[in-house]
Structures are given as C-alpha cells and as structure tokens.
Amino acid sequence: MNKLLMKAISLSVAMVFVLSLAACGTSNPSSTATTVSETSEATVTATVTPKPVTLTLWHQWAAPNDGNTKSFRAVLDAWNQKNPSSNIEDDGIDGESYKTKIKTAIAANEAPDIFYSWGAGFSKPFIAANAVLPLDEYLKDGTSDKLLGGALANVTYNGKVYGLPTSLSVASLYCNKELFDKNGIKIPTTFDELIDAAKAFSAKGIIPIDVGEKDLWPGMYWYDILALRTAGAQGCQDALNKTASFDAQPFKDAAAKLQDLVNAKAFNDSLFSNGYNEMIADFTLGKAAMCYQGNWLGGSCEDDKSLVKGKVVVVPFPTLNDDKGSADEFFGGAIDALWVSAKTENKDQAVAAVKFLTENMSNKLYEAGAGLPCWKVTGVDESKISPLTKQTVDMIKNSKGYVMWWDIFLEGKDADTHKNLVAQLFAGKITPDAYAKEMQKLNVKQ
C-alpha cells in the first residue's frame, strides 16, 4: 500500500515538474532577447567612459525572425555603440503578453524609461494617468519636419505629441495572382467585381477570401474598410470621434455589403475556428485567393517558406460605385510608437534615444520590406526593396486620408463591442439596421 502511495506522490511531483518546465518554456523568447542585448552591451561598456546612464526600454519585438525584431536590434546596437554614456537595456516579449505587461507596469508606476506602445485608444489611459512625457518641446529642433504628413495623428492627444512612430501600417487587398490567372478571373477593382470573383472561386472549390475570425480583428478589417468606402474617411473619423452618428445610412450599407459577401460564400467556411495564424497559413499555402490584411502580410508572402512567393499582388480595396470614399483612402496609419515615461530621471537622453531609434527604424524597416516609412526616407538603397513593399508604397503615394484600425481607435470596451458586433454580422445573427443602432450606443452612452 505504501509503495502505491509513494508512486502516487512521485507521479504528482513529476506532474509539478513538467508543468514548471512548460512555464519556463513560454518565457524563453524574452530571455534570449535579453541575453542578446546584454552581450552587445557588455562589449560596448568595456571600452568607454565611467558612470554611464542606463536607460531601460520595453518593446514587443521578440519573435526572432520577425522583420521588426531584426531592424530594431540593428538600430539599438547602433545607438549603444554611438552613445556609450547612455546605453539602453532592452526587454521584449511578444504582442498579447506585452499588452498585459505594459498596462500592469504603468498601473504599478513601474514603467521603464522608454516603452513601446500602440497609439490612439490603446495609450489614452496612459496619457490620462500622466504616465507619459509630452514631447512638443523636444520636437522644435527640426524633428517635426523630418516626419511625413499625418504621421503624428495617432500619437497626439489634446494637441500635444507624446510619442514618435516607427512605421506606417496600411491594409490592402492581397491577391494570389496565380490563382486569378489560372482560373481566368479578373482582379477586382469594384465591389461588384469582388462579388463576381468570390462566386467564381467558390464554384471552383477555391477559398475566395480567408478570414481568421476567431481572433475577431481580422473580420473587423472587412467591415471597417467597407465603412471607409461607404462613409469616406471623414465620415468614419466623425463617427469614431463621436461627433456623428453610426446609426446612418453609410454604416448600414457597409454592414449590408459585408453580409452580401457572406451570402455570396466569399469567406472560408472555417472562419470562426481559424485565427490570424491559420489565416496566414492558408493564404501563404496558396489555398485562398484573397486576403485583406495589413502590410505585414507582405513579409509572410515573400518569406522563403511561402508557397506564394512572387505570386502575390497588392491592390487597393475595391471601390463602390455610389459612395463617398475613393480608392485613395486607406485603412491604417502610424500606430507603432515609442514613448518616454514621465517618471524617467534622464529625460533628455531618453528623448534623444527615442528620436534616433524611431527614425532609423523607419528607414531600416522600409529597407527590409517589413514596414512602410513614416519618416522621410534617408540613406536607403531602394533597389533592394521587395516588390510587394514597392507596390504598397506606390499605392499610398497619393493617399487622401487614413482611418486607423477601429479597435485601436476606440477604447477597451467599445473596441470589444465593435468587434463582437461585426462577428455577429458575419454569422448573420444581426441585421444591418440593428448593427448600426448597437454601434451608435457606443456614442451616446455615459
């Protein structure tokens, strides 16, 4: 009997052990990231002045092969080499965990000197809590002129600039040209053509459009771009800023158009069980003909492992015939930014670092094809830029307006409500009229 008890105990000890191992496993990426920075830092500090200031920086560029991570590391190393007296110690973890981490740290008054955050609604509570340093005074030295127009829209609160963006993001329609050509289907430029193309692909057993609605935001992109076309950039901005009503015809039309697509079987059947990763997998495996996503999808398409490398083209989202929006209005904007904590003891160094890092990352990301520039491009060899990035940059050259991802623009609960309402549109559980009424509740509530 005792033997048995011992076995039970040793099994449970083993269980605890395995679980704790698993816990270690998840934290690995961030620890490798820090070791990299520590070694690079060690080589620098060995050669330089005594008593250097050490700045702390938190970011979410931890995935090893990500274009953002590579550019960030290169720029950070350059800063540390040039500025031995104000070295940066960085700490990075991946996206969703980072959101929790930075929120918790700011709530606990333990924010690092410099941190990465998303602009617009996400950082609004930080600004309201006076946790972020306003940068206006520091930008008078000509920095403002180096930025591209509209780049600061999402980092400006109550007329003050609080952060500097690293790159511009824009969503566009990614089309698998090979599938279009093989099946003799025209790449859509109008909504009617989009419906026709969807029906044609569907009839041939090819997924017309892939959406990972389990994560909610990929589906939201579809509603938001349709609303941008029906209501126009200004119309969307007004409604999002609560100065106009969502319970208006353009927003109902956009909802109806989305349901037209659903009824035309334009989306993958598995949209509710697939998330963002599955969506990217389907598209890069060549299973789906179209995907409406941010420009980061370009990196996945051009990856050596991608089966659709060189076969994808980027086009603006199709226009509607009778609407206010034009094809020159885009869904996106500059949202990735670095901010300086209001509590930092080394304000000047931290701001200088943020200026250096963001401007150079903008160039580096553009050069690597991982992002679009939001600073004026300097010192970039344009011949190396990937075709998809070039197409995107050409596409937005004459842009007339941007609307930021609605889930970033709206705050917390409102963003969640919006995404869930769009999910209901996808499932056909709500009518366009009811949808518009529910959306307007976000604007009139207390």
Binding site: M1, T104, A129, K214, S270, G412
Partner: protein, 292 residues
C-alpha cells in the same frame, strides 16, 4: 522527533512560512479584489468608488451574457459528475482488481494529466480542424461526410466540443485518486467476500464503492470546483467564442479586465467565482454529511 512534533510552539514556527506565503499570495489578493470590485477603474488611472454598482450590473442589469457563462460552467460541472467521474470510477475499479498490464494502463490514463494544458489544447485544435483535422478525416473516411463540420466554429457544437477535451483531460486524475483509495481496502475483506461467493461485480458495488466513498466525495468536490473556475482549455480552444457560445465566467473575467479595461467590474466577477466555489463546497459537504 516526537518531542518536537509534540511541541505546539515548534509546530506553529514550522507552519509560519507557509502561512505567510498563503496569506500574501492567496488571501490578500482575494480581499484586494473585493475592494477593487467596488471601484469603477480601468486598471491604470485612479479608481472611483461606486459601491455595489458592479454587482448590480452583474446580476440585475447584465448585458454581457454573464448568466449564460455561469450556465455553461454548471453544464460542465454536471458533465463532470455524471460522465467523467463514473468513467474514472469504472476504470479505477477494473484496474484495482489487479488485471494484466495494470501499471501500463494506469500510466496511459494518467498521461493527459501530466501534459501541459497548452499542449492538449493544440492537440485538440488539430483534431477539430475543419480542413485537415483528424475527426473530420475520420468521418469522411467512414462515409459520414454529412456529419463533418467546423466543430469549434459552429455556435451549436462549440460548447460540447470544448468540454470533451476538458473531461478527457482530468478523467485520469480522478481515476488515480479512486484507484489508490480502492487499493488501500484491506485484502481480508475481499477474501471474506470471495469465500461467501460474491461475484466481482457484487464485490465492487457492495464493498469497494462504499469503502472508497470518502475519496469519491473528494473527487466530486474537485470536479465541481474545477468546472466552475475552468479557464485554460476554453481560452486556448475558442477564447469564449464563437459569438460567446463557449463563454465561462473566467474567460468573461479575462475579457472584461484585459480587453475592455474594466478592472472593477472584472474583479466583481472574480469575487463571484470565489463565492460560488465556496458555496458549492459547503452545499456538497452538507449533502455528504447527511448521507453518511
């Protein structure tokens, strides 16, 4: 040794470190949550004291499907009691009789318990995948193509599809508890039963089950409480979706705190979960006491 253990002061000294940890990590946060649940707070700025408004929003003016999420967790609790535990009990009784390969089967049934939940979640995500998943391939292979579906994406099937792995995962755990308990029943009793000519079925029903009843009661309590606070597998498989079909109180709490920044309201859900678990434990203990 005996003298040390007989000394009350020594005992209290030895349990002190654990007590401090327990209070700091478990008890204090519960009281803090209780305080937070009275605030309107986004988790970052300053909270505003609003009394019991969060609880009123939760129970009376509810608009986020809290009632349904509680219902879902109660369905899981019932499934645990009426499907998981009987299966575990049967396995335990069969294994405890000393069959061939006893150790092998015991290990096999226990494997899901020692695996990380994330691994199990990924495994079942692949099984349920509508395109290349094991389940749909199997159904197509045996000519039941009409039954194949998007298991985790269909609002009618998602809930049961999520509960099956949860029940599967912990069956081995309850089996091991009951098995260990059944093994500790004295061999003399079985011998007496055999001499009296009792069949193995009669022995199991009349002797083993009554003898291990205390352990079964423990298992029921664990199963109910585990179901009421379930989070991990639901989160990995569906995140409470599609369209809130698989929402349970813990996923709702996570969403309200981390996606909607309603720290105060989320805390009131967490307090509800704690209270719910305590109440169910008390009810179960009362029931067991009156039975014995």
């Amino acid at each position: 040794m005996d003298r040390v253990f007989g000394d009350k002061k020594a005992i209290s000294l030895f349990v002190l470190p654990t007590l401090i940890l327990f209070v700091a990590i478990i008890i204090a946060p519960i009281f803090l949550s209780g305080y937070y649940s009275l605030l309107k707070w986004d988790g970052i700025g300053k909270g505003v004291f609003i009394g019991i408004k969060n609880y009123r929003d939760l129970f009376i003016n509810n608009s986020d499907g809290f009632g349904k999420s509680v219902g879902n967790s109660i369905i899981l609790a019932l499934l645990s009691i009426f499907i998981q535990l009987p299966v575990a009990l049967i396995l335990a009784l069969v294994l405890a009789r000393g069959m061939k390969g006893e150790g092998f089967y015991r290990t096999v049934y226990f494997i899901p318990v020692i695996m990380s939940t994330v691994v199990i979640g990924q495994l079942w995500l692949k099984i349920y995948n509508p395109d290349y998943g094991l389940l749909n391939s199997l159904l197509k292979g045996i000519g039941l193509k009409s039954l194949a579906s998007d298991w985790l994406g269909d609002t009618n099937k998602a809930l049961i599809s999520v509960f099956i792995p949860i029940i599967w995962q912990y069956t081995g755990y309850h089996m091991l508890l009951m098995y260990a308990s059944a093994k500790s029943v004295s061999e003399e009793i079985y011998e007496a039963a055999r001499i009296d000519g009792a069949s193995s079925f009669t022995t199991a029903v009349r002797i083993t089950i009554p003898m291990i009843m205390p352990m079964i009661e423990v298992c029921i309590t664990f199963a109910v409480i585990g179901s009421l606070k379930i989070f991990d597998l639901v989160w990995i498989l569906t995140r409470g979706g599609p369209l809130h079909a698989t929402e349970v109180p813990s996923t709702l709490m996570y969403n309200t705190i981390f996606n909607q920044y309603q720290y105060g309201y989320g805390s009131s859900i967490s307090i509800f979960i704690i209270a719910e678990c305590l109440i169910f434990t008390l009810i179960l203990q009362r029931v067991f006491k009156s039975k014995s």
